[in-house]
Structure formats: structure tokens, C-alpha cells
Amino acid sequence: MGDEVEVRVHGMWASTYSKRVELALKIKGIPYEYVEEDLMNKSQALLEYNPIHKKVPVLVHNGKPIVESLVILEYIDEVWPDHAPRLLPRDPVDRARVRFWSGFLQNQLLESVLKLVMSSGEEQEKALDELHEKMTIMEQEMGDIIPKDISSIQSKSLGLLDIQVICTLGAYKAHEQVLGVKILDPHKHSLIYAWVNAMMDLPMIKEITPPHDNVVNFIQMIFKINPSA
């Protein structure tokens, strides 16, 4: 196996960062070879391509590595501008808004999800409240960026923000099962609930969604949570 393959992704089945890259390539119809990494036994290639962070995902394009999922997504949009759809809008103000909320999902929201998973009891309740507050902020401030017409969501028009939302929140049911809390409530956050569920129904998303039980087991294992009896 040399570098005859133009596009290769080093990823891991449970990594939402890795899924972001795969989804971006699929949405734009760019063929790629996928290499599943065992994070306990990383490949020589991975360590050479990402010597600094030694993490997935890595996109290898014509032999050159690009790392960090958001950096990769911007790269994909720039290198394949003729492959519709554009992951980012054309207008600079809209691009800035998409990048802002993308960052919010990646940093603030994810931070709260992690706190939620790593805590218990009263601390966990606080973490859940914090997560819900952030989702409320999103619904209040994202305005027209949140698709109101769910029937208009299609695989071939997904963008960076859709990718961020589905990869950050897509596994909510598995998290709810493990933690016994309600993360995404259609009454509290109807817009986000509709957005996430509409995307989960798309064939392209289903293609990359791991089996529910695998995700449940993974979450339990990673955070050493005991399954409820």
C-alpha cells in the first residue's frame, strides 16, 4: 500500500472527531480509504503523521497529513471547492457565525457533556443544568442558522454546523441510557431535538452511526461507570 490512494482517513469507530472527517468527505462525495486505529496500539503511520498529538483523526491527502478535526474540515472545503455542498457558507459574516457556533459546540457544549459523564449525584445534576443552559443559549442565539423546516434537511446539503451538531449530540440516547438522565428533551429544546433526530434519520448518518449497544458499552468502559443492575 503506497500513496496511490489519494485520500486516507486514520480514525477510530467511537471517536466523534473521526466521524466529523468521514462525514465531511461523504457529504462532498469524496472517496477515501479508512484505516481503523487501535488507540491502545497506534500504527506506525499514525505516529509519523501526527507526532505531536498522536491522535485520530488524521487526513492523509496525496501523502500529506492534516490533523485536528476542525482544521481538517476547513481543508476539505478549500481543497475540493467544486464538490458541492460547501461545508461553510460563502459570505464572510455567515462563515464567522458558523465558526463561532462550531467552536461553541466543540468547546463549551462538549465540556459540559464531559462534566456530566464524569460526575455523579448533586454534581451531576449541576452539570446537567449547565448543559441545558447552554442548549437554551444555542436555541435563543443561533436564530435562522437552526433549520426550522426539518423536511429540508438532506444529506447532500449538510454543512459544518450540521456535522458539529450531529457528532456532538448524536449519541445522546446512549448517554441517557448510561447516565439515567434526560439530555435532549423535545419540550425543553425542541429545535435542537428536531435537528438532531432529523439528521439521525438520514441514510448517510445511519451509515456512520455505530450500533447503539456498542456506544453504550464504550461510554461505560471509557468512564468506568458500572451498568445499572
Binding site: 505531536i52 485536528e68 481543508y75 465558526r99
Partner: protein
């Protein structure tokens, strides 16, 4: 300045994040109105323009707000397309610059505000990160750091300078030099080259004032909560 083409920047003199867009606008020769924010008494405008984070910097262009320093830099590069460009044209190089800007996250700020044993630990972490940067940045500067004469500072230079340009203040807080030429010849040559850039004088905070501010923040944090 009419609303048609108005550029305003809400900042704070000591914020390395606010320094970034100010530096970029000056490098690109764009006229703008600077609004100094009192972070203990934020303006109505700031709260309106950045309701989510309520932070500086915020760029307001023709009445539309853009927040988050790196996002503002990308926006500036996309709106004002005449040279000098902040990011390279080539997508692969752009990815590298964005990677390194992300790498230079504010570990140094965490270190400055930590105390005692905690500070020592975070400082060691910072120095190790800098070792990685010293080695890794050879891919950005294969022939060493160029003088910033014809080539003006860009996105990555600005991010680096915003965090390390005030290293003398950090060194006063740590009580020792950490950006040493023996351990970090490339980083030292980079910061020194940037210090020669004329615009730098207009954006760098006064070191004594910066140190005073850091001390007061540290003092405030160690005040025990009232009973």
C-alpha cells in the same frame, strides 16, 4: 465614519486575545475605531454584540458583530483581500498555520495566574509544550525566521506574539527567565523579529502595568470567600 463602512474593535489593553485583531487591522492598514472596555463594567454594546460570552475582542463591521479572536482574524482576511494576507493561499499551509495557532493555546496564561506548587507544575507543562513548538515549527520556518520587513506578520505570527510578546512580564511573575535562547533559539528569534515590527509598539501593553494587573488578579483570586 458612516455605518456603510464602519469598523470598530472592542478590546482591553491587556488582553492578548484583543491584541490579535488590533495587530491584524494595523498590519493590513485598515482604519478602525478602538473602544477600550472596562471588564468590570462592560459596555451595553459589548453585551449586545457578544451576548453568549460577553468577552473582548469583538469586531463590529458595518454594525455586524464578529466574536472570538481567531474567527475575527479569518474574517479580516476574507473581507479585506488586498495584501498583506494573514493566512497563506495554499490550503495545506493554511492547515499548518491553523494547527500551530491552535497549539499555542493559552497555557501561558494559565501559568501566569497559578500560584505556588500549581504554578510550578503548569510552568513545567508550558516549557515542555514550548520544546515541542521549538522543534515542530521548523516546518513553518525551514530557513529560520525571516525579518518582518517585506513580509508582514500574519495569522500565526500574531497569535504567537499575543501570548509571548509580553514574556518579560511573565518572567517577572515567574521570577525567572523562561524564554531562553539556549533552550528555544527559534522561538526567541521569532519574538525578537516581531518586536522590530513598527505596529508592535502600538499593541504591546506596558510591561510594568501588565505585571501590576496580573498581580491584582492573582490577589483577588486568593481572597477567601466572605463568611
Amino acid at each position: 465614519m458612516t455605518e456603510e463602512n464602519s469598523v470598530k474593535l472592542h478590546g482591553f489593553w491587556a488582553s492578548p486575545f484583543a491584541m490579535r485583531p488590533v495587530f491584524a487591522l494595523k498590519v493590513k492598514g485598515i482604519d478602525f475605531e478602538y473602544i477600550e472596555e472596562d471588564l468590570s463594567n462592560k459596555s451595553e454594546s459589548l453585551l449586545k454584540y457578544n451576548p453568549v460570552h460577553k468577552k473582548v475582542p469583538v469586531l463590529v463591521h458595518n454594525g455586524k458583530p464578529i466574536s472570538e479572536s481567531l474567527i475575527i482574524l479569518e474574517y479580516i482576511d476574507e473581507i479585506w483581500t488586498d495584501p498583506p494576507h494573514l493566512l497563506p493561499k495554499d490550503p495545506y499551509l493554511r492547515a499548518k498555520h491553523r494547527f500551530w495557532a491552535d497549539f499555542f493555546d493559552p497555557t501561558i496564561l494559565k501559568t501566569l495566574l497559578a500560584e505556588g506548587e500549581a504554578q510550578k507544575m503548569v510552568l513545567d507543562e508550558l516549557l515542555e509544550k514550548m520544546d515541542v513548538a521549538e522543534e515542530g515549527l521548523k516546518e513553518i520556518f525551514p530557513n529560520g525566521v525571516p525579518p518582518f520587513e517585506e513580509q508582514k506578520p500574519g495569522y500565526l505570527d500574531i497569535v504567537f506574539y499575543s501570548l509571548y510578546g509580553t514574556h518579560e512580564a511573565a518572567e517577572l511573575i515567574f521570577g525567572k527567565k523562561f524564554l531562553t535562547v539556549e533552550r528555544y533559539p527559534l522561538l526567541v528569534s521569532w519574538v525578537n523579529a516581531l518586536k522590530q515590527v513598527p505596529e508592535v509598539n502600538e499593541v504591546t501593553p506596558s510591561i510594568p502595568k501588565f505585571v501590576e494587573l496580573l498581580h491584582s488578579i492573582i490577589r483577588q483570586r486568593s481572597v477567601p470567600p466572605k463568611a
